[in-house]
Symmetry: C2
Subunit: 204 residues, 2 copies
């Protein structure tokens, strides 16, 4: 064997530690908000001293940008793959809802930070995150629009408002997921889909 190191740790020690640092930042930002915490809180979570954090981040702002980018990139990647599958509108919405809820369970810190703190990234750094957000929004718009063209979605529906309502619904879940992490995902998924797709009134 020429390689002495196990094949599993492809990442350098630095890379592993950097990821741990982003994780710690996500957790702290999610709990206390970006402006509500100090770099010392992140350092504590990593068991290093406050000053050492700057070995991994050029600034506190850079840490926030990193966290937000992870959060939104996962969602856009998923959406890209989903669109290529050309599912029905109903199936698409189910799949997106499931993925979003699962992300909120497993990586809730990242979702919360992206939802609530991204506006704290200084304007000159916000470019990449904005681009991804618009990307995500536009893909959702496409899905809803083509659902309407295919006749699955009500013709009278305003696509922009529906998309916003849908994302609002999803992001709202991140708030209570954070407080109650052991909620039954499948049940929430079923209820969300039912309400969003066919409403909460009994059909007449």
């Amino acid at each position: 064997m020429t390689d002495k190191k196990p094949v599993t740790d492809k990442k350098s020690k630095y890379d592993q530690r950097y990821i741990a640092a982003v994780d710690a930042a996500a957790a702290v930002f999610a709990e206390k908000s970006y402006h509500g915490c100090g770099t010392i809180d992140i350092a504590n979570k990593l068991n290093i001293k406050q000053g050492s954090l700057y070995y991994y981040f050029k600034s506190k702002e850079a840490a926030l940008e990193a966290v937000c980018l992870v959060g939104i990139t996962e969602q856009t990647k998923f959406l890209e793959e989903l669109i290529s599958k050309e599912l029905s509108f109903e199936e698409s919405v189910q799949a997106i809802t499931r993925f979003s809820l699962k992300s909120q369970q497993e990586r809730g810190d990242y979702m919360v930070v992206f939802n609530n703190e991204r506006k704290s990234i200084p304007l000159e750094r916000r470019g990449k995150v904005r681009e991804q957000s618009h990307n995500y929004h536009n893909m959702l718009m496409d899905i809803f629009r083509s659902g309407q063209v295919k006749g699955e979605v009500k013709a009278e529906l305003d696509i922009l408002i529906s998309v916003r309502a849908y994302t609002g619904l999803l992001s709202s879940a991140s708030k209570w997921y954070h407080a109650e992490p052991d909620i039954d995902l499948e049940n929430v998924l079923r209820q969300f889909s039912e309400v969003f797709l066919s409403g909460c009134l009994k059909p007449v």
Copy 2:
């Protein structure tokens, strides 16, 4: 006339100024977040010096509490009155949605601060705001539950999740209202009601 002052200004100069201070705090907290702003930002908006603010607020935290209380109290009061009218579920949801959207247009700062910043009130002060929030939540739960009992709402719906979905939907609107203040309220109301009550799928 014994009264020299016009009947309209019943409020003392102090009271008027205090309200202006709460307004200013709401605007600043909504824009920069509680931890992201300084008391100097609020003072600037009032055209007074930073130290003078403490004539109206015992502390920055007290200002936040005041803003949050205004925000939630308006909503709970409305809900109390609404319940006494014993409307149908559908009418109730329409009325609540309309009032919420109107509040977000007219007093968006207060809504945004209540939604996003209330967790920054220190625990020992959070009592009143929590009480009102629970109050609001419980009244909504009652409305949905009785809608189910009356047979208007689908029997299989999980009331807790539905209420959370509904409030999530409403609060999400506050985000884009803030960015685009001249949105057509009646249109949003129509779309929200349509989606939430009967879903976005075309009936089969």
